[in-house]
């Protein structure tokens, strides 16, 4: 009888223990399963964020640049006059020869009244129609394109995005909202949004002004081109009613006066030589 009683007592004890702690074990198991389930997306997010913090490969640059360019065209449209587009490309290619990093440069004219120019990864550079109508010679165009070529060659916005992790944030957002689109398309989307919403650091803007001016001068243009264009923009931006035209540019760039003051010593050192090619510029812009 004694072993039987002991067995019954043991069974009762196990049942009691299970009744007492079984829920806890089950909950612990559920928690473990849940944690394992969460761990995978978290790992994916970390992997994606880590990828965002790495420099983009040449292939990435090209693909993000292409996707970003398509978005810019979707937003603004392109001026499609072949003669003007070809001319802008020839000026850009002439200056682009002297860039610190060689890329297949492609230049487009955005059909908007906003004054500005934008550099996307992979060599895609856009200048706006309004910016071109504010120029009077080829040296000014060369200087402005040189500024954007520098941003692109030096990966300025890409570095800024990585340092601010804004793209990582955009990707996290996309994941959280259940969007599972192509990562490069997400990066391109974030890049274009940052183009219009993010200010580059002052040193990057100064570097783009300096190197853009130097590149244009090395290509044989007057070193004063970009500075002249900045002066024209400064004067026009003071006119009443021009807020819309320059608001975007001024929201992401330093004030014109300080950029002009920064560039002046470089221009003075370069002297008065170099081509302005006003007649060639006017002839190209007059084409229809």
């Amino acid at each position: 009888m004694k072993p039987f009683a002991l067995a019954i007592a043991g069974l009762l004890l196990v049942c009691a223990a299970n009744a007492q702690f079984g829920g806890v074990f089950n909950k612990a198991k559920e928690k473990l399963d849940e944690a394992q389930g969460k761990a995978k997306p978290a790992t994916d997010r970390a992997q994606r964020a880590a990828e965002t913090l790495q420099p983009w490969s040449a292939k990435d640059e090209q693909e993000i640049g292409e996707a970003g360019a398509a978005k810019m065209i979707a937003v603004f449209g392109l001026v499609e006059d072949p003669k003007i587009v070809r001319y802008v490309n020839l000026v850009g290619d002439t200056v682009g020869q002297f860039a610190s990093r060689q890329l297949p440069w492609r230049f487009g004219i955005l059909d908007t009244d906003i004054v500005g120019a934008y550099a996307l990864p992979g060599g895609y550079i856009f200048i706006t129609r309004a910016a071109l109508t504010g120029m009077t010679n080829e040296a000014q165009l060369a200087g402005a394109l040189g500024h954007e070529i520098t941003h692109c060659a030096e990966r300025h916005l890409e570095k800024e995005i990585r340092s601010k992790k804004t793209s990582a944030w955009a990707i996290e957002e996309a994941n959280a909202s259940g969007k599972t689109g192509d990562l490069r398309a997400l990066k391109a989307d974030a890049f274009v949004k940052d183009l219009f919403n993010t200010s580059l650091s002052r040193d990057k803007e100064d570097a783009a002004d300096e190197q853009g001016t130097q590149m244009a001068a090395r290509a044989g243009y007057s070193a004063a081109g970009l500075m002249q264009f900045l002066t024209a923009m400064r004067d026009a931006s003071k006119q009443p009613g021009n807020q819309k035209m320059f608001g975007q540019l001024l929201s992401t760039h330093p004030p014109f006066d300080s950029r002009i003051a920064h560039l002046k010593p470089f221009v003075d050192r370069a002297g008065n030589g170099g081509q302005t090619l006003e007649a060639r510029f006017q002839a190209a812009m007059a084409s229809k």
Partner: protein, 130 residues
Amino acid sequence: MKSGQARAFPHILDSATSGRLTFVIRRICLVLAVTGAALAQDAAQPKDQPKKEEPAPLFSGKLGTKSSQKTKESATLGFNGIDPSGKVDQQMLAASPGADHQAKVKQMKDTAPAPADIDVFIREGGLNKR
């Protein structure tokens, strides 16, 4: 000989008629001289020249006529989607590119100038090649 023609008139006309004729000729010469002087002065003064076409103010001229934007609104209103401070509307930036926009990017790649064309452009402009 010509200057003596008035004095020669007495041989043909009586002296009163000859004197009157001489007076009239002198008056005509005076009127002609005054008219000539007035015309010369008028020619020296700047005339109202036909108005030359003024260049458009900077940042507001026309440039080309063809746009990739198909809708009339977006092709003609460049400030479409821009807020009063000049910033691009965030909804506008959310635009998704379609196949036609991708095609435009491809076109940008395909129509890039050939190296030989860049060389000619550089040479014609008196610019430098790397």
